[in-house]
Every structure is written in structure tokens, then in C-alpha cells.
Symmetry: C2
């Protein structure tokens, strides 16, 4: 097996597009979500992101890293102006439509109409869910922090509404996002479905792990 070693200089010297593809793959697989917002002018905006991540459960917080001057600038502006947004899982049957939202549409064009997904009202706040998504989350901005290292902005939101399919929810609270056919992203543009290896018990020193898959299936919260 041929190993390739890239040191600091070799990384720095990579042509820009190669570096972007490589470094985007390094952190591992990424979540695939559609961010729904509404502008002050009332136009619904939808943007695919792979930068949503778990921050904490108590209180329920989710992070979203955004680059201000890219195609997501409208989304970031709407989040700042309205203080609210939605996160919607991307599933296997909508990956092309989801990826297409990354095109640079004008601010007065709605990505919903352009790609053929449908906005759905939230009972909690004024930002659109994606009707076709099986897992929909409405959030209020908790804090926005600038990351000086590269001028990105970290949006942390508090979850105020969740819509899901009952059959995806296990008795212990685990949400089966694989059964929901949520996809993952690698690099900038590769989409993958998943197959479960196992769920493992809480690890303790000097004690063998056991599988907890099956134990919590087919129940209802």
C-alpha cells in the first residue's frame, strides 16, 4: 500500500482547486442539510450546506458554519435579519434538487421554485421548512460568532420545533436517520447513503462492548 505524506510546504503548494477538494475531504463525512429562510422582502431562500453540526442537547443547540461572501450570503443575511431559520435533512430521493440549490440564483429568485421543492409553514416561526424532508427543525439564533482564523461565521441556533416521522423515532430517543434515508456528503460534491454497522453500548473501562441495536427498535416515544 503506497502511502503519500504531505508536509506543511507540500500542502501549502497544492494548486488551489486540489487543496479545496482534499481539505474538504479530510475532516470525514459531513451532514447534508437544506437551510430555509425568508428575506425581509418575503422571498423564501433555500441553501444546501454540509457544515451543520451538533453543539449540545441541554439546551438543544445546533451549529452552522457559513462563509459570508459565497453563494450562501443571502441565507446568512436572512438569518441575521430575521433571527430564525430551518434545518431540513437531505434524503436519497432529493439529492439532485438539494445540490442544485447551491447554484448562484439571484436574491429575487426562490430556490424552492427553481429546483422543485416545496416550502411548508412552521408553527413556531417565520422560516420555511422543506415539505419533502422527513426531518425538519426550526431554530432561533442563539449567538453568531466570527471565526477570526478565516473570517467564517458560526451561527448557533436553539431548536424550538421538530417535525419527524414517528416510525423513525426509537423508544430511547434515538432517531433513525438511516431509515429516513438521510444522506452524507464527502468533499464538496459527493453524496452517499449509509448502512448500519451497529449501535454499541456505553463504553466502560475493561469491559467488552455489546450491541444495543434491536433492543430499541419498533417502539414509540
Amino acid at each position: 500500500m503506497a502511502i503519500k505524506v504531505l508536509d506543511e510546504k507540500a500542502i501549502s503548494d497544492l494548486p488551489k482547486s486540489l487543496k479545496v477538494n482534499l481539505v474538504n475531504s479530510l475532516s470525514g463525512f459531513k451532514s447534508a442539510n437544506l437551510i430555509g429562510t425568508t428575506s425581509k422582502q418575503g422571498i423564501n431562500n433555500l441553501a444546501i450546506v454540509s457544515s451543520v453540526f451538533h453543539v449540545g442537547a441541554n439546551p438543544p443547540l445546533i451549529g452552522l458554519l457559513m462563509r459570508p461572501h459565497t453563494v450562501v450570503r443571502n441565507t446568512l443575511q436572512n438569518i441575521k435579519e430575521t433571527g430564525v431559520y430551518t434545518i431540513n435533512h437531505v434524503h436519497k430521493d432529493m439529492v439532485k434538487q438539494a445540490h442544485q440549490t447551491s447554484a448562484r440564483y439571484d436574491a429575487n429568485e426562490s430556490e424552492f421554485e427553481e429546483v422543485g421543492l416545496h416550502p411548508q409553514k412552521s408553527a413556531a416561526l417565520n422560516a420555511p421548512f422543506v415539505e419533502e424532508s422527513r426531518i425538519k427543525i426550526a431554530l432561533k439564533v442563539e449567538q453568531i460568532t466570527k471565526i477570526p482564523a478565516n473570517k467564517t461565521e458560526l451561527v448557533i441556533g436553539r431548536v424550538v420545533e421538530i417535525l419527524l416521522h414517528k416510525q423513525d423515532l426509537h423508544i430511547d430517543g434515538y432517531l433513525d436517520i438511516e431509515q429516513a434515508q438521510s444522506v452524507v456528503v464527502s468533499g464538496l460534491d459527493s453524496y452517499h447513503e449509509t448502512f448500519r454497522i451497529d449501535r454499541f453500548s456505553y463504553a466502560k473501562p475493561h469491559k467488552a462492548l455489546s450491541s444495543i441495536w434491536g433492543a430499541s427498535v419498533d417502539n414509540e416515544l
Copy 2:
């Protein structure tokens, strides 16, 4: 299809363990990585995390969110004291060993020895890679930011060394982490392998996407 709606009060009223499982599933699939550090006393520490995420390619930055008072406290302390650490992908054939590193071992026990993985020296800095991992990254701390919303700490590191298998690297810089059998996590404890759906072209308004999978396979950087 029965839809379940949880409003702000319903979410707040969830029993704690249910809430932890549910909210950990909401953001979507998570990367699975092992963080390698060395303590001031010279003990190698290894901790699985699902909170590694891409921050930017220029400069090459990777984020890692940590909770200071949990089982990863030794890792966070080592990172703060030494300023360096490694990120190593978790693959299908090592998920049990990787999950076992989350047990609360004493600070003088090395998770490497306890779970049967092997430390490997980095040429760039004093933190151990995981020999068994196919994708190994050495990082220097760029900044550590406290997240006031829930007292977690965001560690952002700059990539200074990358070890990978040549056969996983495409001509355009895309690293095939699926071929490397890197896994993903959902919730707290579920591990999944992936199967590619497709790689899509850069999206442009009013233009159909095309597949770019295949075009960049079997080449070498």
C-alpha cells in the same frame, strides 16, 4: 405516515436521556475520528469524537468541539498544554476499538494499549497518529474559542501534515474516504458505512447537473 411534532415545551419536557439521544441525531450524520494527544507526562491519549468538522481550505483548518468536563477532558487538557494533536479517521474494521476509547480510563492509562490500537510518530509534531488509520492528520492549534451558549470549547487547528493512501486520492484532489472505509456516526453510538450515490458537477442556475463520478477515478495527484 404519522408525523410527530415537538414544540418548544415538548422538547424541553423530554426526559434527559431521550433528549440527548434525539438532539444528537438531529444535525444529521457525523464524522468519526480519533484524536491523538500526548500529555506533559508523556502518556499517549486517544479519544473518539464525532464533533470534527471542516472549517476552511485556505488556510487548511479543521474544527473540533469539546465539552471540558466529560471523558475528553484529558484530550482537551493535552491540546491546551502542547498546542498539537492528530485527527485519525475511524474505519469499518476498527469501530469497536474506536468506540471503546470513550470509556473513562484514568489519566495514567493509555487508550492505545487498552483498546489495542498503535501509536505512530508524526514527523511534524509530538502527538501520536493511529497506525491503523488510513487517513491521518497532524494539526497545530490556531485558536480555542469558548461557546458561551453551553460552555463547550471550539478548537480550530491548522493542518500541517497529512498521511493517506495514494489509491484513495483522485486527480482533482478529492479523497475517496468511502473507499478508505471511513465510517459515520448517528446519535451517540450508531456507526454506519457508506455507499456512493453520485458526485455532481458545480451547480449553475437553469442548467442541469451532471455526474462527475468516474471522470476523476484511478489517477494520481
